[in-house]
Symmetry: C2
Subunit: 463 residues, 2 copies
């Protein structure tokens, strides 16, 4: 092994003459000198030999040097110049893409030091309690398995966008500040807007419907805010929704579209991120040509037959029901997806179209994936007068829906759409125990990055 040179000026000069090689490309350069940059993942000292796992955005590689490498500690950002060498057959590491080579250090340069880590990040699992995971979020996100959650999330988003664009949807950007709390139900966050009362939107729903009148087919990536004062493993105070909305469509077409978008989105993730998926212990996806479709009542009957539990009088599926009917879909249709339709009209949002053949039930649907709802939507009421009546029946004030109603007053065709929850889908796909793990910086009633106990009380807080 060559000697390690600590004269920093020389490092820099040498470094400047070499362009950076991404770690994933290193196996192409056996016997060559390369410059690599990245973070120290782990360091193992074996007497005079020191081994470093160095990680950059493309991968991880083993670096070998003498004891001077011992000055490097986990999370140091470093630049290393060294020679790529083939490993002896017995030393090949099949777990990583660069496992057939290693880099023998000639020079290195510390770009940024790191404090000592508060916990071990070199193991197979991080094994932290949730509060610690989020108290140290800027650090814990770097842990490969945590980081990979968000690689999958980015693939989900890409897959969704491609699927929506294939259906000719135009991307629209909807605001998050709204003049009224429009959907009722869940509590909303209030905002002081130039001395006036405004609200954070609970969903992009009303805007995307308006925009059907403009573009006919739209998709929106949007934030959604829910101020429910409850702590569950399934709810976030701020989340990302992926929405589609279509004009000139009927219920059957909507079902086709939602299943197509769901399947394409998931398929894309498996295509580009299959390795990560399987590393989470997730089985291969089963996305059949025809997704089974059941009315809520039919699903409840099947669940009753299979389990003896009678939920046929319930207005929705509970989490256990969702798991049972998904098991059934997998067994009977070899499908990870199942579409449930016709929820009771009363239980869905005011804009949901009642089934003309049985108005107690609505032209609504949920898509379940492996035991959890990941999508919800419906055919909408598109007739202006019917919509007004529905608002009133839901005790909502039409005055708060001025711009929304306007779009229906000026000719709104039959329309409908659906919405995926990005974190929900990430959670379910990777089998995470808590939806917070599927949000880079989760917001809930206990935390906004830091714990709320550290944050000033609001002057307006009176409950």
């Amino acid at each position: 092994m060559s000697s390690v040179n600590f004269e920093s000026k020389i490092h820099s000069m040498t470094a400047k003459n070499l362009t950076r090689t991404l770690i994933l490309d290193i196996p192409k350069y056996v016997s060559d000198k390369v410059k690599i940059e990245g973070w120290v993942a782990t360091r193992r000292d074996h007497g005079k030999l020191v081994f470093i796992d160095l990680a950059d955005r493309s991968g991880v590689v083993q670096v070998v040097g003498d004891e001077k490498l011992s000055s490097l500690r986990p999370q140091f950002a470093v630049e290393i110049i060294g020679v790529v060498k083939k490993r002896p057959a017995s030393m090949i590491n099949k777990k990583i893409a660069t496992g057939e080579v290693e880099v023998t250090v000639e020079n290195f340069n510390i770009l940024a030091k790191s404090k000592e880590l508060p916990f071990d990040m070199g193991g197979e699992d991080l094994n932290l309690e949730l509060p610690t995971l989020f108290d140290y979020r800027s650090l814990t996100l770097r842990y490969p398995k945590v980081k990979n959650i968000f690689k999958i999330q980015s693939y989900l988003m890409d897959g969704f966008r491609k699927a929506a664009q294939d259906l000719d949807c135009t991307e629209v950007f909807v605001p998050t500040i709204s003049a009224s709390s429009t959907e009722g139900g869940a509590e909303v966050f209030k905002l002081d807007y130039y001395g006036h009362e405004a609200f954070m939107i609970q969903s992009p729903q009303l805007y995307k419907q308006i925009l059907v009148g403009v573009f006919e087919r739209v998709f929106a990536i949007s934030h959604a805010y829910r101020a429910e004062p409850s702590v569950t493993t399934r709810h976030l105070s701020e989340s990302i929704q992926m929405d589609c909305e279509f004009g000139f469509v009927d219920f059957e077409q909507l079902l086709d579209y939602l299943e197509e978008v769901g399947k394409k989105t998931l398929k894309h993730v498996e295509e580009v991120g299959g390795d990560i998926l399987y590393s989470f212990g997730v089985p291969k996806l089963k996305l059949p040509t025809r997704v089974p479709r059941l009315r809520l009542g039919e699903a409840q009957k099947i669940i009753k037959e299979l389990t003896g539990v009678d939920h046929t009088k319930e207005s929705d599926l509970d989490p256990q029901d969702e798991r049972e009917i998904s098991k059934w879909a997998l067994k009977e249709y070899n499908s990870d997806l199942v579409t449930i339709t016709h929820f009771p009209t009363k239980k869905r949002a005011f804009y949901t179209m009642p089934d003309p053949d049985d108005p107690e039930y609505s032209l609504s649907y949920d898509l379940l994936f492996r035991g959890m709802e990941i999508l919800s939507g419906s055919q909408r009421i598109n007739d202006y007068k019917a919509l007004l009546a529905a608002l009133k029946q839901n005790k909502l004030d039409p005055k708060n829906f001025e711009i929304y109603l306007q779009s229906f007053a000026y000719g709104m065709p039959p329309e409908g759409g659906f919405s995926f929850g990005l974190e929900r889908m990430t959670m379910q796909l990777l089998r995470l125990a808590n939806i917070r793990e599927a949000s880079l910086f989760p917001r809930d009633m206990e935390r906004v990055d830091v714990r709320l106990t550290k944050i000033k009380k609001s002057k307006t807080a009176k409950k």
Copy 2:
């Protein structure tokens, strides 16, 4: 012409047996019967003949029928069954893609009626005052030229995403609710967050920097909130930013990247939306291989030489300066873009890296496009202690930056990035007079869809 049949059941039955043809595809079906769906754009009555321009998401076509078509009014959503006929050569309309054909109506079906329009939407221009444009936003967005603004906007976004992905950036989703007002300067919107004081982010800046520690290269589409109590043609209270951030980079690389992303984004728009661009009277884009780069001081000298106006003591370019230096770039380099670097350190955000050769000036940059800044960014301070010192020097409390500082405490390599304003870029590309025209539902200190005078006063409003 065939007789128009008003028996609605028959219409529906007929309609059900025909699948919809998109208007843009109609010229392929000369002599065939087609079903088309869309909105009535205009109606012209010529005695017994009535002409309708029908628009769907794909285009517009002329429809001809007898006087029964007179029941249709602008913005009615309709389904029409008719036969595609070639127009005589003298009647060809070269302005539209379907101008060689028309559809002779056999049946039609009103899907949704429209109220009478409050203004004419059939002319070459809408010619409305801004308040009217936004009081009727759900309607005015349907006007072709207004709608096209947002087609261009969607292409800008697509172009940006592709360019960022080509540079290996991972898409990240950052929160909009924050525990502290972090960047200082512009006023912020306050939120009651479960009884605690929280804020709407002014930019995704701090989060994207944190995420360089995770993914090395990221991009984020994010909302940005500015509560400045000012009404200008360039500012919105809520806007969309397109951000990139890169680790292990130096200043020259950052300049290369920002220019590459800027050029690719614009190029994509011209490729897919050139027709719309030119319909706005916009000249072809001039995007040279090498974008001219000037230090602020150099730009000021050039402006002084060209105009006699001495702004060499100023810390930024004013709007007139931006126009002058862009004119210069076009003349001297045949470039619509010019990059300005080295703004005074004091005038940029605390995280901006001072130039080591002359710390009064910073490793910062703006990108100007045809006379207006569309992008801003810098190399950042990546050393933990230097960052702490910069916070203190800017009179910011490190306690409010806990999670941000954490990422620098654990090894942050040299990094930097930039941010495009989506509405700003849309406005400048299409030469709109006011940035509000480049936002689907603009928020400012006078309006949240409806005028603020219509909205309840906030209980917390005390100034």
